[in-house]
């Protein structure tokens, strides 16, 4: 496996290709244009399809179609564009269609700012569209993680027949880092994956009333709708086993920082500096934002922990709402925030921890 130097967006696209993604549709929006541009170059080389949709709304519908026909499919956008895609995302979740999408998020609300931000947390984890569906949400803190998660996301999507979201930010998307790319799936493997979906996918079936493919993003009968909701709920519950989290220096920690994505990466370096100063800082970094690693907060020794510091690039804070649920009033929660496209500074985190410590 080779080590290459790649930009986050392009690395995400290459990881998807290697995972067997053979359909991508997207619409230009900063800061993720390198994703559709990369696919436009790369897809013809692997007999895949790239379509520049007329809008985000159309692009996600194209992905809904391609994925319903059994193909591993992906779309990407950034915050305001993701809001537009919520229609199709909800349809995929309702019809239990596996697909992957990435949000290289930027400042908001509205058209917001084109610089990196973490202002889509609640949208990503609680309500990415109408109807109360849920998705696994991954939050990479490096280009390598973005690659690994994107590659894995297709397996989770197929396992669950559900959309999976890679929630990155403009830093991860536009930063260049060395990465080890995963193995390229062979044509045989890709065909095998597609054939395994034949039973339910819209690829044409012999005339047989029972065996046709029927992609249903809704139901006429309320009893059928409730049953579909209950089955989905069972799936969502099962994700407790899929929680991914990094716990760093938490065992004896007196101040526990919690953050995800690029904020967590910056916070981690703050922990190292604080430890050198003799301040017992630690970090809980959810890698899956949904399912959320509540257990990591239960494991803390609250006799020692003075406070938890929530660090995120969103004003008002959003991630903190899950942190509050996790802490259950066992210690005070402080915040260290920036927003609007400003990137979290290590100094402000260190300052906030020192303040709590003194």
């Amino acid at each position: 496996m080779s080590r290459v130097f790649m930009k986050g967006c392009e690395a995400i696209a290459e990881a998807a290709v290697r995972a067997g993604c053979r359909f991508f549709a997207g619409y230009p929006i900063t800061p993720q244009n390198e994703i559709p541009e990369y696919f436009a170059r790369r897809m013809p080389e692997v007999s895949g399809t790239f379509v520049q949709g007329e809008s985000e709304v159309a692009s996600i519908s194209m992905v809904y179609g391609a994925a319903s026909a059994g193909t591993r499919a992906m779309t990407s956008s950034s915050s305001p564009g993701i809001a537009l895609k919520s229609e199709g995302i909800s349809y995929c979740a309702a019809a239990r269609i596996p697909m992957v999408y990435s949000n290289i998020s930027r400042g908001g609300p509205g058209v917001g700012s084109i610089q990196p931000a973490q202002m889509d947390y609640l949208q990503a984890t609680k309500a990415s569209g109408n109807g109360g569906f849920e998705m696994m949400v991954f939050a990479p803190a490096s280009v390598q993680e973005a690659v690994d998660m994107t590659y894995k996301a297709f397996d989770y999507a197929d396992r669950d027949r559900n959309p999976v979201l890679i929630l990155a930010d403009g830093v991860i998307g536009t930063m260049m880092e060395p990465v080890v790319l995963p193995e390229m799936k062979t044509e045989e493997e890709i065909n095998e994956i597609k054939n395994a979906k034949k039973v339910w996918s819209c690829t044409g079936h012999k005339l047989d009333y029972k065996n046709r493919a029927w992609i249903e993003p809704g139901h006429w009968l309320t009893s059928d709708m409730q049953r579909a909701n209950e089955e989905a709920e069972k799936l969502y519950e099962s994700w407790k086993a899929d929680v991914m989290v990094e716990e760093y220096e938490t065992e004896d920690a007196e101040v526990v920082i919690t953050a995800y994505g690029i904020s967590a990466r910056i916070a981690k370096s703050a922990v190292n500096i604080l430890r050198k100063e003799g301040i017992k800082a630690g970090l809980i970094r959810p890698i899956t934002l949904h399912p959320f690693p509540y257990d990591s907060f239960d494991k803390l020794d609250y006799k020692k922990v003075k406070a938890v510091l929530d660090v995120e690039m969103s004003i008002p804070a959003q991630f903190v709402q899950d942190v509050e649920i996790a802490i259950k009033d066992r210690c005070p929660i402080h915040t260290c925030l920036c927003s609007g496209g400003n990137i979290m500074s290590r100094e402000s985190i260190i300052e906030a921890v020192r303040k709590i410590y003194s």
């Binding site: 949709g53 159309a58 194209m62 179609g65 391609a66 026909a69 819209c202």
Partner: protein, 245 residues
């Protein structure tokens, strides 16, 4: 005795139609099914349904189908056809779906020359939601959201989708038919066959616009609705082949 006609097997036998009396969705559904059987395409067919009364058939048809978000059928069909070129992919959409909320998806798919077939049902009104004004509602025609009738000063004029798409370079076949007479039903079937054959031949985007009735929301019985088509709809939406390349 020799059997010369049978109900198409592409409509499930045990299902009871939920379409209103005089509705022509059932007629077009039957025609599509007959064409699929005659062309031996049933096991390749993927129907991309719009939202509205057009989507009711999801429960009746026996071939693969997917319900699209409202208006997005041409985008969904693009995804299906591009990733599985061997499938016979067609959309089935009403006027609200194809010409209003889905205008961008419809025009863009046509402009890309997607190798799909579109069956566009134009009855000048929103059916399922209860008779609201459509882009195709005739001037003066009453709708629940235009209680005094469509007024061009406020609502503009009916949209002619065949002619709109005829402005584009890529589409290969655009025909407007109706199902108001036995002769026109036969012509509609022929047009559907042509649209499917074009797709098999890899020619590109084909659309059949079928002018139909909605007796329920037009507020008249089924027979009067047939007269209404002849006297009011067809002068506004003239039948014929608009493009055949």
């Amino acid at each position: 005795m020799e059997q010369i006609y049978a109900r198409t097997k592409t409509i499930q036998e045990d299902k009871v139609s939920g379409f209103c009396p005089g509705c022509m969705h059932g007629t077009v559904m039957k025609l599509i099914g007959e064409v699929l059987e005659e062309m031996d395409l049933v096991d390749k067919a993927v129907c991309t349904l719009g939202i509205g009364c057009c989507g009711l058939q999801m429960d009746y048809i026996a071939y693969d189908n997917i319900t699209s978000p409202h208006g997005r059928a041409c985008a969904v069909a693009t995804g299906i056809k591009r990733s599985n070129p061997d499938s016979l992919v067609f959309t089935y959409q009403g006027d609200g779906d194809f010409a209003s909320i889905g205008l961008a998806e419809s025009v863009s798919a046509a402009n890309r020359g997607e190798n799909i077939s579109v069956i566009f049902i134009n009855n000048g009104i929103y059916g399922m939601t209860g008779g609201q004004m459509a882009p195709t509602t005739l001037v003066g025609m009453k709708a629940s959201t235009a209680p005094n009738g469509r007024d061009p000063k406020e609502h503009g004029y009916p949209m002619h989708m065949c002619e709109v798409l005829n402005e584009l370079t890529a589409p290969v076949y655009l025909e407007r038919t109706s199902c108001n007479t036995p002769g026109n039903v036969v012509k509609t079937k022929k047009a559907i066959r042509k649209a499917f054959q074009n797709q098999l031949d890899g020619k590109g985007f084909s659309m059949v616009e079928v002018v139909t009735s909605c007796p329920t929301n037009w507020g008249m019985d089924a027979l009067k609705a047939l007269d209404y088509i002849e006297e009011n709809m067809l002068p506004e939406f003239p039948l014929g082949v608009i493009r055949d390349r």
